[in-house]
Subunit: 390 residues, 3 copies
Amino acid sequence: MDGDRPQGQINPGRYEDAVLGFRNHWYPAMLSTDIGEEQLVPITLLGENLLFKRIDGVVYAIADQCLHRGFKFSARPECYTKNTITCWLHAFTYNFKNGELIAIPSAPDSRLIGNRRLHSYPVQEVNGMVFAFVGDLVPVPPLSDDVPPGFLDADWCVVPAVNVSSACNWRLAADSGFDPNHIFIHKDDHFLKALDRPFPIANRLVGGDTFHEITEITGPGPKGLVDALGKSEPVFEFEFECEGERGRMASRIPPNEMAYMAYGSIQGSIWLPGVLKVDPWPILGMVHYEWYVPTDEKSHRYFIAWGRKTVDPVERAAFRDEVMTKWKHLGFDEFNKTDLEANLAVEVGTDGLPYKSAENLFEGDGYTLVWRRLASKFNRGVQVRGGAKA
Amino acid sequence: MDGDRPQGQINPGRYEDAVLGFRNHWYPAMLSTDIGEEQLVPITLLGENLLFKRIDGVVYAIADQCLHRGFKFSARPECYTKNTITCWLHAFTYNFKNGELIAIPSAPDSRLIGNRRLHSYPVQEVNGMVFAFVGDLVPVPPLSDDVPPGFLDADWCVVPAVNVSSACNWRLAADSGFDPNHIFIHKDDHFLKALDRPFPIANRLVGGDTFHEITEITGPGPKGLVDALGKSEPVFEFEFECEGERGRMASRIPPNEMAYMAYGSIQGSIWLPGVLKVDPWPILGMVHYEWYVPTDEKSHRYFIAWGRKTVDPVERAAFRDEVMTKWKHLGFDEFNKTDLEANLAVEVGTDGLPYKSAENLFEGDGYTLVWRRLASKFNRGVQVRGGAKA
Amino acid sequence: MDGDRPQGQINPGRYEDAVLGFRNHWYPAMLSTDIGEEQLVPITLLGENLLFKRIDGVVYAIADQCLHRGFKFSARPECYTKNTITCWLHAFTYNFKNGELIAIPSAPDSRLIGNRRLHSYPVQEVNGMVFAFVGDLVPVPPLSDDVPPGFLDADWCVVPAVNVSSACNWRLAADSGFDPNHIFIHKDDHFLKALDRPFPIANRLVGGDTFHEITEITGPGPKGLVDALGKSEPVFEFEFECEGERGRMASRIPPNEMAYMAYGSIQGSIWLPGVLKVDPWPILGMVHYEWYVPTDEKSHRYFIAWGRKTVDPVERAAFRDEVMTKWKHLGFDEFNKTDLEANLAVEVGTDGLPYKSAENLFEGDGYTLVWRRLASKFNRGVQVRGGAKA
Ligand code: FES
Ligand code: FES
Ligand code: FES
Ligand SMILES: [Fe+2]
Ligand SMILES: [Fe+2]
Ligand SMILES: [Fe+2]
């Protein structure tokens, strides 16, 4: 328990093996509104069961399994003081803030007291989200290395709005999020009709290898990729012929000149351990963030937050209202929910074994290949059942 | 994908290993009435997911998994023309008739176009049933080799009536179908009461080895076995003693001389890849067919069709009405449904591991042994997850 | 089938391996009231499927799987005489009392008849409970070796009251049953309030190693352990401090001098193959018995019976009424049901892999260690799927 690894010993693993995600990174566990004062919330991250508690406003997390015989605290949690949790089975009592075993009623002088502790997960609450660090690296890398650039800026107002579970592996969601060609699925989304916005059905690479122009961000700080969509060509209509019949796919709303420009100015970027930034989105002045957080081998948790620049408290409050009354509905229910549906059908189509069955990648898959390569190179270890991969 | 095997390379496998059925055979996938014009129907056969579509009256089938990333077409199928299917995820568009990849909106000049194709399953629709060939043999053997003799005759009128799923391995159903001793289960069936028909509770071999008189049909065309029930003795009543008490089992309707003759004139036969013919049944002039089609390791699909000789359109229509209003109810609901129940209890009794746990075969099991031997010798390969067994 | 092992060949196995329990022991299968005359009752014990039948008042048990092809008798049992069972599929008929195959209607002279038999499980019905012996040892050890001392005494009146299934491995229940420190879970039970009884929240060892004073009973007859609670100290109240706050746990009803004495006079003992005796409990003059009977790897059956000394028929009838109208409710619903809840949360907390994940045992776990050691030494073999471990 708690054999921490010094930072020198980082062994990045392959994306193909990261069925449970990458270890030693920060992940959003829940929204701030999901946990009230002294409330206990169990959450599974990367196959590990965590138990969160808010104490005097600050959120802490411990392993949701008693050291003694493995009782799951959250099955029937007991807290005799604000700062502790007591196992319901034999009353082992722990300091919730650091996991330390502090009392055993039936053996008050036990040598275990003060010498054993539950794994205590580093937690940081920022921008209305609760982040936890899943790993054993010391010192713990800063949260700022695991979120998109700018996310933590002081003049940046973030409103998180979505926290849902999705029954597919997290990598299907990450691959698809950064892949500009998946936009075909959005063509019937009411979001586009509500905004009367022409939207491409495909994205054609100019010269055939635009993806070489994807920018790799590999210096200090967050590691990620910035797309080069501005250099590619949005396709609003497509025709083909088969057996003498012609077929036609098209944007529901015909494009105008503005549509090409507007689409070209949208910049997507993806960051380790698995978070997408789209700027601007859904409208000018706003930025879209989404996370793909591994729960277990076959499910992940999907978060959305939207941001805009402002320090003014009144504007901040107004932006929050706008997100919760407008964008949560239009941006998620009528747009990104379609992504969840698409990912599920890949999980099912590959019999729950994505990355084991053959893919047939084409020229447009450069984004995905570059993402998998970057992720394989800069992660801090592959998570496996029972801890870090040796 | 689609590395076809020339017919010279047929490797029959053991029945004991054929948990997913025999590869390179024709199987009924559905009834003609199950698929309308331009309707898409997903069906799993031998562990493979197929997608069927009727185009201008003709039924075609392709693999229900996009070549690109594995999206399951049937999760949200899109067809921009009659002859094509378009993957909902990145719009790869295929010719449904041959599986060829014909267009990619985001890479219209991709080298994949025209060079990749989905597996396209040979389909033949006859006698109101849709048959598909699951395998990779070229040339594809004729359907007539995989159905009972006479089934395709021009003067033969077939009305298929039953297509249901059953939660047991297909072999339990095939073994039991050809086994004359399983008739014990039918003794209380309302079918017998409705027809006031004496029916044996067992079938006794004369001389103890009548099964040597089973006829093996192993020449060109269908491979199968024809029973020798005419030479065995139907048992309508049986008594035994135990611990001083006598027990008696008997046909609900006492037998008369006609009953012996009538039963002796019923001829059963079983054919690869797993179809039973009973002639005559349920009444003189009619023939009963039933198929056991592997779905996956623990379930199969059960089809019944009945036939009679006639070319007259009015008689054909009348026969169809008779089947659907009378025999579908009496012959299936009140008779063959009992077979499904019996097979389920063997699947459960052997913990889902039939053929792995010991059997204690007796003299009456000759039919089963001969069927397993014939099937092991003349099949065209054992199906395994991921394709044909090497 | 039925290759019996002479008693010389007993190979005790490790408790850690006994996921399916210990073979060659007697276990309660049901209560006498669960099976009426000529009623058939299927029960799974240690992963084996048994079928019970009461014939002329005596209960017998056979394997619930036909020797022929594995049909599960209980799926549709047929009995043509009181003493027999006939397989619904091909009518193999067995003597229920000894499992012998006595008749096959379709092969009345089969060499199998009289030469094959179903496994017949020894059964004994005592004290309102039906016990079965699961194993292959000959001669079969006496039931009296597998129940707590005194249980079979002639002047002892036993009323069994509880027979429920619990979704956790049997060992979690056995460990916890003999463990005096688990009493923490009972502090809110209505049983205590109903009896206005002070009850400790923990049990402190005096000198730190009281468990060396646990008495091992390893001579002829039942093998077991008798606790030394009288030498330990019940704890009715406990305080601790953490981060400047004080926490307090306490018995809902404050203790008086009598409470210490009363608690110290309660003697618990545990016996192979997994039965607890608590004397006196729930009140003076009564004795509590509970069994943990393995069903499969992840579930067991939990029985409770209560006893008191009396030979008078009127007193016996009154005691039965008292148990069924009072103690079944107070003693189980409002007390021991809490044990089931605790065990479930350990099964879940250890991901269904108790004994594979690390435990951190403390001074108070001596009881558990001694029990595991005794069980590992004196069992008659570890049960494995498919029979006894080689
Ligand atoms: S399992 Fe938690 S204190 Fe024993
Ligand atoms: S998965 Fe079908 S086109 Fe990409
Ligand atoms: S399976 Fe029981 S008689 Fe055949
Ligand atoms: Fe999307
Ligand atoms: Fe039948
Ligand atoms: Fe208890």
